[in-house]
C-alpha cells in the first residue's frame, strides 16, 4: 500500500484527480492527457540508457524522450528522481483473461473449443476485462499480453491486448494477432498425468501424427482455395457466387503469409516438424514453448523462425539434462542469433512474475540488457508491433513502467504505470484484500 501512498504523495493532487476512482473494477478508464516524467533514468531499450532524462506523454503516445526535453506547459509532472522508466513488459504466451479459476470452476474457463479445428475461435471475444488477473498482473509492470486459446489442433486466434480497458476492444492492440496450432506431439499426449506409461507403438504413433498433420494441412489448403475463389468472384461477379464459410474465412490471411502462425512445440522433433510444415505451407511460423529450441538453434536461425520461450522455469525435459538446461536456453539462442522472447506461458496467476523469468535467464548467461529486451522489445518485434510497443521512442504507444530499481529484481517496486498513455492506479484485488485484513 506504500505504492498508493507514494503515488498520492509524489504526484500530488493533480494526478490523483486525473486518476479518479481507485478501485479495480473500473467502469471508466483513466483519461489520457499530457504527462512529463522528469529527472529519471530512462531505459529506452532500443537505444542507450538516458541517465537523467525526461519522457513526455501526450494523448496516449510518447511525444518526446531525451536528456534535454522541455516540459510542455500544462503537463502533469512526475518527479522521477531516483526512479527508472522502462517500457511496459510484454508476455507473448499467455491465456490471461480467458481463465479465472482453472480447477473446480469450469464456467470460468474459455480456452479450448470442442473439436480439433477451430480457426474461428477468437480469444478477443472471450477475454474478460474485469478478471482479477488483469489488475494483479499490470500492477507488476506487465502492460501487454498475447492471450491465446489452447485446444485441439488448430486452437483459434490469439489476441494481443493491453491490460487496461472496460471492454475487449479497448484492450486490443491487435485483435487477431496470430493463428495458434498445436503441432502434433510424438510420444503420446505428453503433459498429462498417468506416471508410468509404456511407449506407444512407433509406427502407429507416427501414422496418427501424420493423420493429424494432414487434417491441419487439408484445412489450410481449403482456406487457400477459399480465398482464391472469393477473390475471383470479387473481380468477376459473373462467376457463380461462392458461399461464405465462417471457419475458413479467418484462415485466409494466415495461409497467405500475411499474419503469423504460432506453433506450440517444445521437443526437438516437433520444432523441426513445425518449421518443415510451415515452409511447405508458406506460413510465417513462430514457435511457442521451445524447450528444446537450443538443440535446433542453427535451423531456427537459418529459417529466421522466432521462439516464444515459456519453459525457463520448467524442469528439464530429460532426467540427464543439465540442471540449468532451461535456465540457459535463452542465452544459447541469443548466442546463436535466434530471435526469441521470454514468456511465463501461464493462464493468469503467474504472469505477474514475468520479470523473474527474464532475470533467471540473466543469472544463466543472458546479458541483463538482453533479458530486459526479452520481455519488451523482442516480443514486440516477434508479434510485429515494434512500431508501437517494446521500447521508449517518440511516437510509440505510452506503455511505461516507473520503478524504484532494476526492473528484473524481485525487490523492485513499481511506482507509476501508464498504459496507452493513461495513468493506472496501482491497486488490484490483492492490494484491496491486503488493505482489508492487514490490521484485523
Amino acid at each position: 500500500m506504500r505504492i498508493i501512498v507514494a503515488l498520492l504523495i509524489c504526484a500530488g493532487s493533480v494526478l490523483a484527480q486525473q486518476i479518479g476512482n481507485p478501485t479495480t473494477q473500473q467502469g471508466v478508464i483513466p483519461p489520457r492527457g499530457v504527462f512529463a516524467i522528469r529527472n529519471a533514468r530512462i531505459v529506452t531499450v532500443s537505444g542507450p540508457d538516458i541517465e537523467n532524462g525526461t519522457v513526455i506523454i501526450r494523448d496516449g503516445k510518447i511525444e518526446a524522450v531525451g536528456a534535454t526535453v522541455a516540459v510542455p506547459a500544462g503537463a502533469q509532472t512526475i518527479d522521477g528522481s531516483g526512479l527508472s522508466v522502462y517500457p511496459g513488459m510484454i508476455d507473448a504466451g499467455t491465456n490471461l483473461g480467458l481463465v479465472e479459476v482453472p480447477q473446480g470452476a469450469n464456467g470460468t474457463v474459455d480456452t479450448s473449443e470442442v473439436g480439433d479445428l477451430n480457426p474461428n475461435a477468437k480469444a478477443i471475444t472471450a477475454v474478460n476485462p474485469h478478471s482479477a488477473h488483469i489488475a494483479v498482473t499490470r500492477v507488476e509492470g506487465i502492460t501487454t499480453t498475447l492471450t491465446a486459446p489452447t485446444g485441439g489442433l488448430i486452437s483459434g486466434q490469439a489476441t494481443l491486448i493491453n491490460l487496461l480497458g472496460t471492454a475487449p476492444k479497448e484492450m486490443a492492440v491487435v485483435p487477431h494477432a496470430a493463428l495458434v496450432i498445436n503441432y502434433p506431439r510424438i510420444g503420446g499426449g505428453g503433459g498429462g498425468f498417468g506416471g508410468f506409461q509404456p511407449p506407444a507403438n512407433l509406427s502407429e504413433t507416427l501414422t496418427a501424427n501424420e493423420r493429424r498433420l494432414q487434417q491441419i494441412r487439408k484445412m489450410l489448403r481449403d482456406a487457400e482455395a477459399y480465398g482464391r475463389t472469393q477473390d475471383a468472384y470479387a473481380k468477376d461477379k459473373s462467376l457463380p457466387r461462392p458461399d461464405r464459410n465462417v471457419v475458413l474465412e479467418p484462415l485466409v490471411p494466415y495461409v497467405r503469409g500475411e499474419q503469423p502462425v504460432i506453433f506450440r512445440a517444445d521437443r526437438e522433433a516437433e520444432i523441426r516438424g513445425a518449421i518443415r510444415f510451415a515452409e511447405e505451407m508458406k506460413l510465417r511460423p513462430i514457435i511457442l514453448g521451445g524447450n528444446d529450441a537450443w538443440k535446433v538453434a542453427s535451423l531456427l536461425r537459418e529459417k529466421n523462425v522466432p521462439v516464444i520461450l515459456t519453459g525457463v522455469f520448467s524442469l528439464p525435459s530429460r532426467e540427464d539434462d543439465a540442471y540449468d538446461t532451461l535456465f540457459e536456453n535463452p542465452a544459447k539462442l541469443q548466442q546463436a542469433g535466434v530471435r526469441f522472447c521470454i514468456s511465463t506461458g501461464d493462464s493468469g496467476p503467474e504472469v505477474r512474475n514475468l520479470a523473474q523469468y527474464a532475470g533467471m535467464a540473466a543469472a544463466f548467461g543472458l546479458s541483463k540488457a538482453d533479458a530486459v529486451k526479452s520481455i519488451t522489445l523482442y516480443p514486440a518485434q516477434i508479434m510485429n508491433v515494434a512500431d508501437r510497443l517494446g521500447s521508449i521512442e517518440t511516437g510509440k504507444m505510452a506503455n511505461l513502467v516507473v520503478t524504484d530499481g532494476d526492473l528484473l529484481e524481485i525487490r523492485t517496486r513499481i511506482k507509476y504505470l501508464f498504459i496507452d498513455g493513461r495513468p493506472v492506479v496501482l491497486t488490484s484485488r490483492h492490494t484491496e484484500l491486503n488493505e482489508a485484513f492487514k490490521n484485523r
Binding site: G104, F196, L315, A355
Partner: protein, 467 residues
C-alpha cells in the same frame, strides 16, 4: 517389449549417472574454509568479509582470519555470499507415491517407506541451495500419512537421507482436496466420506476420540502391569498410535488448508483435544485469521504467491507472509513443487516486495523458520558455530534474481558444485551418445524414436485430480 526394456535400462542408467559422478568427485577433505565472504547468518545478522570453517560436518568457526588445518580446502569467498542451506517445509521430492487416498484416515502409512534417492530433482534442488526437505504425504485425506524429514544426500542410499532427531510428523488436510471436489463421481461407486467441511471436522473428531480411548486403554494397561505382570496387553492399532503421539506432543501436525473457516475449525478442534497444530500448510487465507493462528502457537508454511488455481485459492494474496509474520506467526515459504523448490530464495524475497518484510525476516522464511517448524532448529537453519555444516555459497546475494549457487554443502560435504557440474558435461554427453549407439537403443530405421518411460510425479495438488 525388448526395445521397451532396453530403453528402460538406458533411462535408468542415465538417471543414476550424476549420482555416481557426484560420488566420484566428492571432495574427501573433512575440512573447508570459506574465506572473506558475506555471511548471511540469519540469526546473528549479516557479516562482511567473514570466514566460515566447516569441519567434521559442523560449522566450526565463523569470524575473521580463521585458521584451518593444512589439508583443508580453501575457497575464496570474495564477492560471494554464504547462506544456510534452504529448508523446504513442504516437498514431495523422492517420494515414489504421495497419496494413499482410499481412506479418510491413513495415519498408518509412512512416506519413509517410498523414498527414491535417485530422483534427479533432488540434485536440481541442491543446485538451488536447498539442503533439507520435509517430505509430506498428499492431501487426499483429513488425516494422512506420516512425513519424513531428509537431508539431500544425493548419491547415497535412502537411509542416509534421514534427518537424525527431526520431530516425527503427520500430514492433515482440509478443504477441497479431502472433499474430493475435483474428482468426478463415478457411477456405482459411492463417494468417500467426507463430502463437506462439516464432515472433515467429524472425521478428525472421530479419529481423536478413538485415539483418546485407545490411549486410555494403554495407560490403564501400563498402570495395571505394575501390580500384575499377567495382564493381557491391548491390541496395537497402527492407525491410532500416531494420533496418540500427537496427543502426547510427540508428533507434529502439518495441516494442509486454505480458507479461514477451516483453519479456525482445526484450531478449535485441536484445543478441544488438547494438542497443537505445528504448521498450517499453504494456509492461503491465513492472513484473514493471523491472530488466531498466532494465539494457537501454530506456524504457517506457505507459497510465496500462488493464487487462483482453484476456488479455495482465489483469495490468496502475496502479502500473506508479511501479515502473518507481523501477527507473530512463524512463517516459512515452501515449494510443494520440484520446480519451485529450485528457487526458494526468490520466493522468500517476494515477501520484501509484497508486504515490506525486512531482509532478515525474509531470509528466515526459508531457513530458521522452517527449521523451527520441523523441530530441527538446534541443528540447521542458521550459520552458527556448532550447527550442521549445511550451507550454500552463492555468487551474489541470494535475493537477487541474477544470483546462482556455486557450491552446496551438506554435513560439510559438497553435494553440488557448479564448476564440477560443468566440467563433467562433455563426459556425460559422450556416455549418453555411447548408450544411444548401443544396439537395443538404436532408433528404428525411419522416424524419430518415441520417448522412453519417464516418471512424472504429479504434485500433491495435481495428484488429487485423479479419481
Amino acid at each position: 517389449m525388448k526395445r521397451f526394456i532396453a530403453r528402460l535400462v538406458l533411462f535408468t542408467i542415465a538417471g543414476t549417472l550424476p549420482a555416481s559422478a557426484v560420488r566420484a568427485q566428492r571432495q574427501t577433505s573433512p575440512e573447508t574454509l570459506i574465506r572473506n565472504a558475506t555471511v548471511l547468518t540469519v540469526t546473528r545478522g549479516t557479516l562482511q568479509n567473514t570466514d566460515v570453517l566447516l569441519r567434521n560436518g559442523k560449522i566450526a568457526g565463523v569470524g575473521k582470519n580463521l585458521n584451518a588445518s593444512a589439508n583443508a580446502r580453501i575457497i575464496d569467498g570474495t564477492g560471494k555470499y554464504v547462506m544456510p542451506g534452504i529448508i523446504d517445509a513442504h516437498s514431495h521430492s523422492m517420494l515414489d507415491t504421495i497419496n494413499e487416498g482410499t481412506l479418510a484416515v491413513t495415519s498408518m502409512v509412512r512416506t519413509e517407506d517410498v523414498l527414491n534417492p535417485t530422483d534427479a530433482d533432488l540434485y536440481r534442488e541442491l543446485a538451488g541451495g536447498v539442503t533439507t526437505l520435509n517430505l509430506l504425504h498428499g492431501s487426499a485425506n483429513p488425516i494422512g500419512g506420516l512425513n519424513t524429514v531428509v537431508k539431500i544426500k544425493y548419491g547415497r542410499p535412502a537411509s542416509e537421507f534421514l534427518f537424525p532427531g527431526a520431530m516425527p510428523g503427520i500430514k492433515f488436510a482440509l478443504g477441497e482436496n479431502v472433499k474430493r471436489s475435483s474428482s468426478p463421481t463415478q457411477a456405482g461407486v459411492p463417494r468417500r466420506y467426507p463430502n463437506t467441511r462439516m464432515g472433515v471436522e467429524e472425521v478428525i473428531r472421530d479419529a481423536f476420540t478413538r485415539a483418546r480411548d485407545y490411549k486410555r486403554t494403554w495407560d490403564e494397561y501400563r498402570a495395571a502391569t505394575k501390580n500384575d505382570k499377567d495382564v493381557m496387553p491391548p491390541r496395537r492399532d497402527l492407525q491410532l498410535e500416531p494420533l496418540v503421539e500427537i496427543l502426547e506432543g510427540k508428533r507434529y501436525v502439518h495441516a494442509h488448508c486454505y480458507i479461514a473457516s477451516e483453519i479456525l475449525m482445526l484450531i478449535n478442534l485441536a484445543d478441544e483435544f488438547g494438542f497443537k497444530i505445528k504448521t498450517f500448510q499453504h494456509v492461503l487465507e491465513g492472513y484473514k485469521v493471523a491472530k488466531e493462528i498466532a494465539a494457537h502457537g501454530a506456524g504457517a508454511s506457505i507459497f510465496a504467491d500462488s493464487w487462483g488455481y482453484k476456488i479455495e485459492a482465489y483469495d490468496a494474496i502475496p502479502y500473506n507472509a508479511a501479515i502473518m509474520t507481523r501477527a507473530g506467526v512463524v512463517v516459512s515459504m515452501n515449494s510443494d513443487s520440484d520446480e519451485r523448490a529450485r528457487r526458494l530464495n526468490i520466493e522468500a524475497a517476494k515477501a520484501m516486495h509484497w508486504g515490506d518484510l525486512t531482509e532478515e525476516q525474509a531470509l528466515k522464511l526459508v531457513t530458521i523458520n522452517p527449521a523451527i517448524q520441523l523441530g530441527i532448529q538446534e541443528r540447521v537453519g542458521s550459520i552458527e558455530v556448532g550447527k550442521d555444516a549445511d550451507v550454500a555459497i552463492w555468487n551474489g546475494h541470494p535475493f537477487s534474481v541474477y544470483s546462482r549457487v556455486d557450491t552446496t554443502f551438506v554435513d560439510g560435504e559438497v553435494f553440488f558444485d557448479r564448476e564440477q557440474d560443468i566440467a563433467r558435461r562433455p563426459e556425460l554427453a559422450k556416455e549418453r551418445a555411447r548408450l544411444e549407439q548401443a544396439e537395443p537403443n538404436k532408433p528404428p530405421a525411419e522416424g524419430q524414436s518415441p520417448l522412453g518411460p519417464r516418471r512424472r510425479r504429479p504434485t500433491e495438488e495435481m495428484e488429487i485430480e485423479r479419481p
